[in-house]
Protein backbone atom coordinates (compact mmCIF):
# COMPACT_ATOMS: atom_id res chain seq x y z
CA UNK A 1 0.00 0.00 0.00
CA UNK A 2 1.18 3.47 -0.81
CA UNK A 3 1.88 5.75 2.08
CA UNK A 4 2.35 9.37 1.17
CA UNK A 5 5.16 11.11 2.98
CA UNK A 6 4.14 14.23 4.88
CA UNK A 7 4.94 17.40 3.01
CA UNK A 8 8.06 19.06 4.40
CA UNK A 9 7.38 21.81 6.90
CA UNK A 10 4.03 20.42 7.91
CA UNK A 11 3.36 19.61 11.50
CA UNK A 12 3.46 15.80 11.72
CA UNK A 13 0.28 15.90 13.76
CA UNK A 14 -1.67 17.28 10.82
CA UNK A 15 0.04 15.08 8.28
CA UNK A 16 -2.51 13.54 5.96
CA UNK A 17 -0.84 10.16 5.68
CA UNK A 18 -2.21 8.28 8.70
CA UNK A 19 -5.57 9.85 8.06
CA UNK A 20 -5.76 8.92 4.43
CA UNK A 21 -5.03 5.28 5.09
CA UNK A 22 -7.48 5.20 7.94
CA UNK A 23 -10.29 6.64 5.87
CA UNK A 24 -9.51 4.73 2.67
CA UNK A 25 -12.81 3.50 1.47
CA UNK A 26 -13.59 -0.14 1.23
CA UNK A 27 -17.12 -0.39 0.08
CA UNK A 28 -18.88 -3.20 1.91
CA UNK A 29 -22.11 -2.38 0.11
CA UNK A 30 -20.47 -2.81 -3.26
CA UNK A 31 -18.91 -6.14 -2.34
CA UNK A 32 -22.28 -7.20 -1.05
CA UNK A 33 -24.04 -6.28 -4.28
CA UNK A 34 -21.36 -7.90 -6.40
CA UNK A 35 -21.63 -11.23 -4.65
CA UNK A 36 -25.44 -11.09 -4.77
CA UNK A 37 -25.32 -12.85 -1.45
CA UNK A 38 -28.27 -10.93 -0.03
CA UNK A 39 -30.49 -12.33 -2.72
CA UNK A 40 -29.31 -15.81 -1.88
CA UNK A 41 -29.89 -15.32 1.82
CA UNK A 42 -33.34 -13.93 1.12
CA UNK A 43 -34.33 -17.01 -0.89
CA UNK A 44 -32.89 -19.11 1.90
CA UNK A 45 -35.23 -17.34 4.30
CA UNK A 46 -38.29 -17.72 2.12
CA UNK A 47 -37.65 -21.24 0.82
CA UNK A 48 -36.79 -22.83 4.11
CA UNK A 49 -39.14 -22.69 7.06
CA UNK A 50 -37.77 -22.38 10.59
CA UNK A 51 -34.13 -23.35 11.18
CA UNK A 52 -33.39 -20.03 12.86
CA UNK A 53 -30.07 -21.00 14.48
CA UNK A 54 -28.88 -22.45 11.16
CA UNK A 55 -29.78 -19.36 9.20
CA UNK A 56 -28.12 -17.15 11.79
CA UNK A 57 -24.90 -19.09 11.47
CA UNK A 58 -25.01 -18.93 7.69
CA UNK A 59 -25.44 -15.19 7.89
CA UNK A 60 -22.46 -14.96 10.19
CA UNK A 61 -20.33 -17.00 7.83
CA UNK A 62 -21.45 -14.88 4.87
CA UNK A 63 -20.58 -11.72 6.79
CA UNK A 64 -17.19 -13.09 7.74
CA UNK A 65 -16.36 -13.95 4.14
CA UNK A 66 -17.46 -10.55 2.88
CA UNK A 67 -15.34 -8.76 5.46
CA UNK A 68 -12.47 -11.10 4.75
CA UNK A 69 -12.70 -10.15 1.08
CA UNK A 70 -12.37 -6.46 1.94
CA UNK A 71 -9.59 -7.18 4.40
CA UNK A 72 -7.68 -8.88 1.60
CA UNK A 73 -8.21 -5.80 -0.56
CA UNK A 74 -6.89 -3.69 2.30
CA UNK A 75 -3.82 -5.86 2.52
CA UNK A 76 -4.81 -7.37 5.85
CA UNK A 77 -4.50 -11.09 6.02
CA UNK A 78 -5.47 -13.72 8.51
CA UNK A 79 -5.34 -16.56 6.00
CA UNK A 80 -8.48 -18.13 4.68
CA UNK A 81 -10.82 -19.04 7.54
CA UNK A 82 -11.44 -22.72 8.13
CA UNK A 83 -14.96 -23.51 7.03
CA UNK A 84 -15.26 -27.22 7.59
CA UNK A 85 -18.60 -27.82 9.24
CA UNK A 86 -20.58 -30.39 11.08
CA UNK A 87 -24.35 -30.52 10.66
CA UNK A 88 -26.12 -32.42 13.37
CA UNK A 89 -29.81 -33.08 13.66
CA UNK A 90 -32.56 -35.61 13.25
CA UNK A 91 -33.51 -36.95 9.83
CA UNK A 92 -35.42 -34.61 7.57
CA UNK A 93 -34.32 -31.41 9.27
CA UNK A 94 -32.80 -30.03 6.10
CA UNK A 95 -29.10 -30.88 6.44
CA UNK A 96 -28.59 -31.85 2.80
CA UNK A 97 -30.66 -28.94 1.53
CA UNK A 98 -28.69 -26.48 3.62
CA UNK A 99 -25.43 -28.05 2.45
CA UNK A 100 -26.50 -27.41 -1.12
CA UNK A 101 -27.31 -23.80 -0.34
CA UNK A 102 -24.07 -23.47 1.54
CA UNK A 103 -22.11 -24.59 -1.50
CA UNK A 104 -23.85 -21.92 -3.54
CA UNK A 105 -23.25 -19.21 -0.96
CA UNK A 106 -19.57 -20.09 -0.58
CA UNK A 107 -19.26 -19.99 -4.35
CA UNK A 108 -20.87 -16.56 -4.59
CA UNK A 109 -18.55 -15.25 -1.93
CA UNK A 110 -15.58 -16.65 -3.78
CA UNK A 111 -14.51 -19.08 -1.09
CA UNK A 112 -14.86 -22.16 -3.30
CA UNK A 113 -14.13 -21.96 -7.00
CA UNK A 114 -16.89 -24.09 -8.52
CA UNK A 115 -19.58 -24.43 -5.86
CA UNK A 116 -20.79 -27.96 -6.54
CA UNK A 117 -21.82 -30.41 -3.86
CA UNK A 118 -20.53 -33.98 -3.76
CA UNK A 119 -22.62 -36.02 -1.34
CA UNK A 120 -21.08 -39.28 -0.16
CA UNK A 121 -21.45 -41.88 2.56
CA UNK A 122 -19.06 -44.41 4.06
CA UNK A 123 -19.40 -46.72 1.06
CA UNK A 124 -17.98 -44.12 -1.29
CA UNK A 125 -14.91 -43.51 0.84
CA UNK A 126 -13.97 -46.81 2.43
CA UNK A 127 -12.66 -49.71 0.39
CA UNK A 128 -13.23 -53.41 0.80
CA UNK A 129 -9.69 -54.72 0.93
CA UNK A 130 -6.22 -53.52 1.84
CA UNK A 131 -5.06 -50.76 -0.49
CA UNK A 132 -8.53 -50.02 -1.80
CA UNK A 133 -9.43 -47.22 0.58
CA UNK A 134 -6.78 -44.62 -0.20
CA UNK A 135 -7.41 -44.39 -3.96
CA UNK A 136 -11.14 -44.46 -3.37
CA UNK A 137 -11.09 -41.65 -0.82
CA UNK A 138 -8.68 -39.63 -2.92
CA UNK A 139 -10.87 -39.98 -5.98
CA UNK A 140 -13.85 -38.62 -4.08
CA UNK A 141 -11.76 -35.78 -2.69
CA UNK A 142 -10.54 -34.90 -6.16
CA UNK A 143 -14.10 -34.83 -7.44
CA UNK A 144 -15.14 -32.54 -4.60
CA UNK A 145 -12.29 -30.06 -5.04
CA UNK A 146 -13.48 -26.61 -5.91
CA UNK A 147 -16.73 -27.35 -4.10
CA UNK A 148 -18.21 -28.91 -1.01
CA UNK A 149 -17.84 -32.51 0.14
CA UNK A 150 -20.88 -33.60 2.12
CA UNK A 151 -20.34 -36.76 4.17
CA UNK A 152 -23.65 -38.07 5.38
CA UNK A 153 -23.63 -40.16 8.56
CA UNK A 154 -19.96 -39.49 8.97
CA UNK A 155 -19.72 -41.46 12.22
CA UNK A 156 -19.88 -44.71 10.26
CA UNK A 157 -16.36 -43.93 9.09
CA UNK A 158 -15.13 -44.79 12.54
CA UNK A 159 -15.83 -48.29 13.81
CA UNK A 160 -14.11 -48.66 17.16
CA UNK A 161 -15.27 -52.26 17.56
CA UNK A 162 -13.04 -53.34 14.66
CA UNK A 163 -9.52 -52.03 14.92
CA UNK A 164 -8.66 -53.22 11.43
CA UNK A 165 -11.53 -51.29 9.90
CA UNK A 166 -10.44 -49.31 6.85
CA UNK A 167 -12.53 -46.33 7.93
CA UNK A 168 -9.64 -45.01 10.00
CA UNK A 169 -7.52 -44.80 6.85
CA UNK A 170 -10.22 -42.76 5.12
CA UNK A 171 -10.39 -40.42 8.11
CA UNK A 172 -6.65 -39.85 8.04
CA UNK A 173 -6.61 -38.98 4.33
CA UNK A 174 -9.59 -36.73 4.89
CA UNK A 175 -7.85 -34.95 7.75
CA UNK A 176 -4.75 -34.38 5.72
CA UNK A 177 -6.65 -32.79 2.85
CA UNK A 178 -8.88 -30.78 5.20
CA UNK A 179 -5.78 -29.29 6.71
CA UNK A 180 -3.53 -28.80 3.68
CA UNK A 181 -6.02 -27.89 0.98
CA UNK A 182 -8.41 -25.68 2.85
CA UNK A 183 -8.82 -23.39 -0.13
CA UNK A 184 -9.63 -26.30 -2.44
CA UNK A 185 -12.61 -27.77 -0.68
CA UNK A 186 -14.97 -27.49 2.26
CA UNK A 187 -15.97 -30.64 4.11
CA UNK A 188 -19.36 -30.91 5.78
CA UNK A 189 -19.97 -33.85 8.10
CA UNK A 190 -23.56 -34.65 8.88
CA UNK A 191 -25.46 -37.01 11.12
CA UNK A 192 -27.41 -37.55 14.31
CA UNK A 193 -26.32 -35.34 17.15
CA UNK A 194 -25.41 -37.91 19.78
CA UNK A 195 -23.51 -40.15 17.40
CA UNK A 196 -21.62 -37.23 15.89
CA UNK A 197 -20.64 -36.10 19.38
CA UNK A 198 -19.24 -39.54 20.08
CA UNK A 199 -17.48 -39.55 16.71
CA UNK A 200 -15.79 -36.24 17.47
CA UNK A 201 -14.92 -37.33 20.99
CA UNK A 202 -13.05 -40.35 19.65
CA UNK A 203 -11.44 -38.43 16.76
CA UNK A 204 -9.94 -35.31 18.35
CA UNK A 205 -8.07 -34.53 15.13
CA UNK A 206 -11.34 -34.30 13.26
CA UNK A 207 -13.00 -32.30 15.98
CA UNK A 208 -10.29 -29.66 16.03
CA UNK A 209 -10.42 -29.20 12.27
CA UNK A 210 -14.15 -28.62 12.15
CA UNK A 211 -14.73 -25.00 13.03
CA UNK A 212 -18.48 -24.81 12.79
CA UNK A 213 -20.83 -27.12 14.60
CA UNK A 214 -24.38 -26.37 13.52
CA UNK A 215 -27.28 -28.09 15.21
CA UNK A 216 -30.51 -28.49 13.25
CA UNK A 217 -33.51 -28.34 15.60
CA UNK A 218 -36.64 -30.42 15.02
CA UNK A 219 -39.50 -28.55 13.41
CA UNK A 220 -42.47 -27.46 15.49
CA UNK A 221 -45.98 -28.46 14.42
CA UNK A 222 -46.62 -25.00 13.01
CA UNK A 223 -43.42 -25.09 10.99
CA UNK A 224 -44.31 -28.52 9.64
CA UNK A 225 -47.67 -27.21 8.53
CA UNK A 226 -46.01 -24.29 6.80
CA UNK A 227 -43.60 -26.73 5.15
CA UNK A 228 -46.49 -28.87 3.93
CA UNK A 229 -48.21 -25.84 2.42
CA UNK A 230 -44.99 -24.68 0.80
CA UNK A 231 -44.33 -28.11 -0.68
CA UNK A 232 -47.86 -28.29 -2.05
CA UNK A 233 -47.47 -24.87 -3.57
CA UNK A 234 -44.23 -25.91 -5.24
CA UNK A 235 -45.91 -29.03 -6.61
CA UNK A 236 -48.87 -26.88 -7.71
CA UNK A 237 -51.41 -28.54 -5.49
CA UNK A 238 -53.57 -27.08 -2.77
CA UNK A 239 -55.55 -28.31 0.20
CA UNK A 240 -59.30 -27.96 0.18
CA UNK A 241 -60.68 -25.98 3.14
CA UNK A 242 -61.79 -29.19 4.84
CA UNK A 243 -58.43 -30.84 4.25
CA UNK A 244 -56.50 -28.14 6.08
CA UNK A 245 -57.50 -29.16 9.65
CA UNK A 246 -56.97 -32.79 8.70
CA UNK A 247 -53.43 -31.92 7.67
CA UNK A 248 -52.86 -30.30 11.07
CA UNK A 249 -54.17 -33.37 12.80
CA UNK A 250 -52.11 -35.61 10.57
CA UNK A 251 -48.94 -33.76 11.51
CA UNK A 252 -49.84 -34.01 15.17
CA UNK A 253 -50.30 -37.77 14.95
CA UNK A 254 -47.37 -38.41 12.66
CA UNK A 255 -45.00 -36.59 14.98
CA UNK A 256 -45.93 -38.83 17.87
CA UNK A 257 -45.12 -41.96 15.92
CA UNK A 258 -41.70 -43.61 15.78
CA UNK A 259 -39.49 -43.06 12.71
CA UNK A 260 -40.78 -39.57 12.29
CA UNK A 261 -38.42 -37.84 9.88
CA UNK A 262 -39.56 -34.24 10.00
CA UNK A 263 -39.90 -32.63 6.57
CA UNK A 264 -39.14 -35.90 4.81
CA UNK A 265 -42.17 -37.55 6.44
CA UNK A 266 -44.28 -34.64 5.30
CA UNK A 267 -43.03 -34.99 1.76
CA UNK A 268 -43.79 -38.70 1.76
CA UNK A 269 -47.23 -38.07 3.19
CA UNK A 270 -47.96 -35.59 0.43
CA UNK A 271 -46.73 -38.00 -2.21
CA UNK A 272 -49.10 -40.62 -0.88
CA UNK A 273 -51.94 -38.09 -0.78
CA UNK A 274 -51.28 -37.33 -4.44
CA UNK A 275 -51.51 -41.01 -5.16
CA UNK A 276 -54.89 -41.25 -3.45
CA UNK A 277 -56.09 -38.10 -5.13
CA UNK A 278 -55.25 -39.55 -8.53
CA UNK A 279 -57.00 -42.76 -7.61
CA UNK A 280 -60.07 -40.86 -6.40
CA UNK A 281 -60.25 -38.85 -9.62
CA UNK A 282 -59.99 -42.00 -11.67
CA UNK A 283 -62.79 -43.66 -9.72
CA UNK A 284 -65.13 -40.75 -10.23
CA UNK A 285 -68.24 -41.36 -12.26
CA UNK A 286 -67.89 -38.08 -14.14
CA UNK A 287 -64.67 -38.24 -16.16
CA UNK A 288 -64.66 -34.51 -16.97
CA UNK A 289 -62.38 -32.66 -14.59
CA UNK A 290 -61.70 -29.01 -13.96
CA UNK A 291 -58.28 -27.54 -13.36
CA UNK A 292 -59.40 -27.14 -9.77
CA UNK A 293 -60.10 -30.85 -9.41
CA UNK A 294 -56.62 -31.64 -10.63
CA UNK A 295 -55.07 -29.33 -8.07
CA UNK A 296 -57.09 -29.99 -4.95
CA UNK A 297 -56.26 -32.49 -2.28
CA UNK A 298 -59.38 -33.34 -0.30
CA UNK A 299 -59.70 -34.32 3.33
CA UNK A 300 -60.41 -37.93 2.37
CA UNK A 301 -57.06 -38.17 0.58
CA UNK A 302 -55.35 -37.46 3.87
CA UNK A 303 -57.83 -39.32 6.06
CA UNK A 304 -57.05 -42.58 4.30
CA UNK A 305 -53.57 -42.50 5.79
CA UNK A 306 -52.44 -45.33 8.00
CA UNK A 307 -51.58 -42.82 10.70
CA UNK A 308 -55.25 -42.24 11.39
CA UNK A 309 -56.34 -45.87 11.60
CA UNK A 310 -53.47 -47.38 13.51
CA UNK A 311 -53.38 -44.54 15.99
CA UNK A 312 -56.99 -45.37 16.84
CA UNK A 313 -56.15 -49.05 16.81
CA UNK A 314 -53.22 -48.48 19.12
CA UNK A 315 -55.41 -46.49 21.45
CA UNK A 316 -57.89 -49.33 21.53
CA UNK A 317 -55.22 -51.88 22.10
CA UNK A 318 -53.67 -49.82 24.85
CA UNK A 319 -56.83 -49.60 26.93
Amino acid sequence: MKVTAPAPGLDPGTSPSPDSTATSEFDLGLARDESQVDELLATLDSDLIGLVPVKTRIREIAALLLVEKLRTQAGLSAGPPSLHMSFTGNPGTGKTTIAQRMAEILHRLGYVRKGHLVAVTRDDLVGQFIGHTAPKTKEVLKRAMGGVLFIDEAYYLYRPENERDYGQEAIEILLQVMENQRDDLVVILAGYKDRMDRFFASNPGMSSRVAHHIDFPDYTADELEAIALLMLEQMQYRLSPTARPVMVEYIERRRARPNFANARSIRNALDRARLRQANRLLARSDPRLTRDDLMTIEAEDLRASRVFESADGAAEGAT
Partner: protein, 139 residues
Protein backbone atom coordinates in the same frame (compact mmCIF):
# COMPACT_ATOMS: atom_id res chain seq x y z
CA UNK B 1 17.51 -33.43 -27.25
CA UNK B 2 14.19 -31.82 -26.56
CA UNK B 3 11.24 -34.05 -27.35
CA UNK B 4 8.46 -32.32 -29.24
CA UNK B 5 5.35 -34.40 -28.83
CA UNK B 6 1.79 -33.39 -28.13
CA UNK B 7 0.27 -29.94 -27.92
CA UNK B 8 2.42 -26.93 -26.92
CA UNK B 9 5.61 -28.90 -27.41
CA UNK B 10 7.27 -26.17 -29.42
CA UNK B 11 6.59 -23.64 -26.68
CA UNK B 12 8.61 -23.25 -23.52
CA UNK B 13 7.40 -25.60 -20.79
CA UNK B 14 4.09 -24.49 -19.31
CA UNK B 15 4.13 -23.14 -15.79
CA UNK B 16 1.88 -24.75 -13.19
CA UNK B 17 -0.42 -21.78 -13.51
CA UNK B 18 -0.74 -22.35 -17.24
CA UNK B 19 -1.23 -26.08 -16.80
CA UNK B 20 -4.01 -25.36 -14.32
CA UNK B 21 -5.71 -23.08 -16.84
CA UNK B 22 -5.49 -25.77 -19.52
CA UNK B 23 -6.93 -28.38 -17.18
CA UNK B 24 -9.72 -26.04 -16.17
CA UNK B 25 -10.56 -25.61 -19.83
CA UNK B 26 -10.62 -29.39 -20.32
CA UNK B 27 -12.93 -29.85 -17.36
CA UNK B 28 -15.24 -27.14 -18.64
CA UNK B 29 -15.56 -29.18 -21.82
CA UNK B 30 -16.36 -32.24 -19.69
CA UNK B 31 -13.25 -34.08 -20.74
CA UNK B 32 -11.63 -36.55 -18.37
CA UNK B 33 -7.99 -35.83 -17.61
CA UNK B 34 -5.52 -38.63 -17.08
CA UNK B 35 -1.80 -38.79 -16.35
CA UNK B 36 0.74 -41.03 -18.12
CA UNK B 37 4.49 -41.45 -17.79
CA UNK B 38 7.31 -43.14 -19.65
CA UNK B 39 11.05 -43.06 -20.10
CA UNK B 40 10.81 -44.25 -23.70
CA UNK B 41 9.56 -41.31 -25.74
CA UNK B 42 9.72 -43.09 -29.10
CA UNK B 43 7.22 -41.32 -31.38
CA UNK B 44 5.39 -44.59 -31.96
CA UNK B 45 5.17 -45.33 -28.24
CA UNK B 46 1.62 -44.06 -28.04
CA UNK B 47 0.41 -45.67 -24.86
CA UNK B 48 2.51 -44.67 -21.90
CA UNK B 49 2.12 -46.14 -18.44
CA UNK B 50 -0.96 -44.86 -16.62
CA UNK B 51 -0.38 -42.99 -13.42
CA UNK B 52 -3.56 -43.78 -11.51
CA UNK B 53 -6.96 -43.98 -13.12
CA UNK B 54 -8.32 -41.37 -15.50
CA UNK B 55 -10.07 -38.74 -13.43
CA UNK B 56 -13.72 -38.61 -14.36
CA UNK B 57 -16.33 -36.22 -12.94
CA UNK B 58 -13.86 -33.63 -11.71
CA UNK B 59 -15.04 -30.04 -11.57
CA UNK B 60 -11.91 -28.24 -10.55
CA UNK B 61 -8.30 -28.50 -11.64
CA UNK B 62 -7.02 -28.81 -8.07
CA UNK B 63 -7.51 -32.59 -8.09
CA UNK B 64 -5.46 -33.00 -11.26
CA UNK B 65 -2.75 -30.68 -9.97
CA UNK B 66 -2.37 -32.72 -6.77
CA UNK B 67 -2.11 -35.93 -8.75
CA UNK B 68 0.36 -34.41 -11.22
CA UNK B 69 2.55 -33.22 -8.36
CA UNK B 70 2.71 -36.70 -6.84
CA UNK B 71 3.49 -38.11 -10.30
CA UNK B 72 6.37 -35.65 -10.64
CA UNK B 73 7.71 -36.61 -7.26
CA UNK B 74 7.47 -40.31 -8.04
CA UNK B 75 9.00 -40.04 -11.52
CA UNK B 76 11.13 -36.90 -11.56
CA UNK B 77 13.27 -38.23 -14.40
CA UNK B 78 10.51 -39.50 -16.66
CA UNK B 79 8.34 -37.89 -19.25
CA UNK B 80 4.88 -37.20 -17.84
CA UNK B 81 1.94 -36.07 -19.92
CA UNK B 82 -1.63 -35.02 -19.29
CA UNK B 83 -4.32 -36.39 -21.60
CA UNK B 84 -7.82 -35.05 -21.94
CA UNK B 85 -10.30 -37.65 -23.08
CA UNK B 86 -13.60 -36.67 -24.65
CA UNK B 87 -16.19 -39.35 -23.93
CA UNK B 88 -18.91 -37.71 -26.01
CA UNK B 89 -20.66 -40.25 -28.19
CA UNK B 90 -19.06 -40.34 -31.59
CA UNK B 91 -15.82 -38.80 -30.39
CA UNK B 92 -14.44 -41.08 -27.65
CA UNK B 93 -10.96 -39.91 -28.27
CA UNK B 94 -8.19 -37.72 -26.91
CA UNK B 95 -8.71 -34.04 -27.46
CA UNK B 96 -5.59 -32.71 -25.88
CA UNK B 97 -2.33 -34.17 -24.71
CA UNK B 98 0.73 -32.33 -23.50
CA UNK B 99 3.96 -33.00 -21.66
CA UNK B 100 4.21 -31.62 -18.12
CA UNK B 101 7.48 -33.15 -16.97
CA UNK B 102 10.76 -34.04 -18.67
CA UNK B 103 13.95 -35.71 -17.48
CA UNK B 104 16.59 -33.21 -16.39
CA UNK B 105 18.73 -34.32 -19.33
CA UNK B 106 16.79 -35.70 -22.23
CA UNK B 107 18.85 -38.53 -23.68
CA UNK B 108 17.32 -38.46 -27.14
CA UNK B 109 17.55 -41.14 -29.82
CA UNK B 110 20.05 -43.27 -31.63
CA UNK B 111 19.81 -43.91 -35.36
CA UNK B 112 20.00 -47.56 -36.30
CA UNK B 113 20.90 -48.62 -39.83
CA UNK B 114 19.97 -52.10 -40.85
CA UNK B 115 21.49 -53.46 -43.97
CA UNK B 116 19.30 -55.88 -45.83
CA UNK B 117 19.32 -57.67 -49.14
CA UNK B 118 20.79 -55.80 -52.12
CA UNK B 119 22.65 -53.29 -49.91
CA UNK B 120 19.32 -51.66 -49.07
CA UNK B 121 19.37 -49.82 -45.78
CA UNK B 122 16.47 -49.63 -43.32
CA UNK B 123 16.60 -46.88 -40.79
CA UNK B 124 15.03 -46.81 -37.38
CA UNK B 125 15.47 -44.84 -34.22
CA UNK B 126 15.67 -45.99 -30.64
CA UNK B 127 15.48 -43.97 -27.45
CA UNK B 128 18.87 -44.26 -25.78
CA UNK B 129 17.07 -44.43 -22.46
CA UNK B 130 15.96 -47.89 -23.46
CA UNK B 131 19.49 -49.25 -23.84
CA UNK B 132 19.07 -51.09 -20.59
CA UNK B 133 16.28 -53.58 -20.06
CA UNK B 134 13.06 -52.27 -18.63
CA UNK B 135 13.59 -54.02 -15.31
CA UNK B 136 17.04 -52.51 -14.84
CA UNK B 137 16.19 -48.91 -15.52
CA UNK B 138 13.45 -48.44 -12.95
CA UNK B 139 14.36 -45.46 -10.88
Amino acid sequence: MRITQGTFSFLPDLSDEQIRAQVDYCLEQHWAVSIEYTDDPHPRNTYWEMYGDPMFDLRDAAGVMVEMETARQTFPDHYIKLNAFDSTKGVESLRLSFIVNRPRAEPGFRLIRQESAGRAVHYSIQATATDRLAGERET
